[in-house]
Symmetry: C2
Subunit: 111 residues, 2 copies
């Protein structure tokens, strides 16, 4: 059943495509990178650290990645809201696979 081909063309089905799009989206990449070297981050912390994100896109990206099971949202029901985001195990996997590609692109683009 194993083929010579490393990856089949039909592996890139709509569901695969959607996941790849979410993970490699403009802000998806940034969120994964930002969350990768901290156990957890608050929403406002992410907003401050990711250069140029609008509040709308931050929320939207976090919600998408949470729905994909890559990011965990933990809300503490205190009087001034306190929400923390962290990578799940699959989220870390995504980051670890994405990072080399981004680094390669960075090296190429700025050579």
């Amino acid at each position: 059943m194993a083929t010579a081909r490393t990856l089949q063309l039909d592996s890139v089905c709509p569901a695969t495509r959607t996941l790849v799009e979410h993970v490699t989206s403009k802000w998806g990449v940034l969120v994964l990178i930002a969350l990768a070297d901290r156990p957890a981050m608050r929403w406002s912390e992410l907003k401050r650290e990711i250069p140029g994100v609008s509040e709308k896109m931050l929320i939207q990206t976090l919600q998408t990645l949470e729905a994909d099971g890559l990011v965990l949202r933990t809300a503490h029901p205190v009087v001034p809201p306190h929400v923390e985001y962290s990578l799940t195990e699959p989220g870390r996997e995504a980051h670890d696979l994405l990072a080399p590609l981004v680094r390669w692109a960075y090296d190429r683009a700025t050579r």
Copy 2:
């Protein structure tokens, strides 16, 4: 100068972003995969093997990847046109970095 962080947030500058977008685009992924296990392919061959590509998107994707230096276009000036496309060395690098990510997404999406 080295940081604990694997990847800096500002590595994802516009130029990096553009390259990542091209490589992870819907048809960019398919073209890289298709070209990865053959020394060269004709245009019509790519069109036949990549399920669902329109002629416009095939051309457009190939031209973008060629401009990025990831794909080599070789035209033989014969009477019925004969054009071949192949991966350059950077193109192969891109494929090799992309493939694990796509495979991971496929496994997740179809688990």
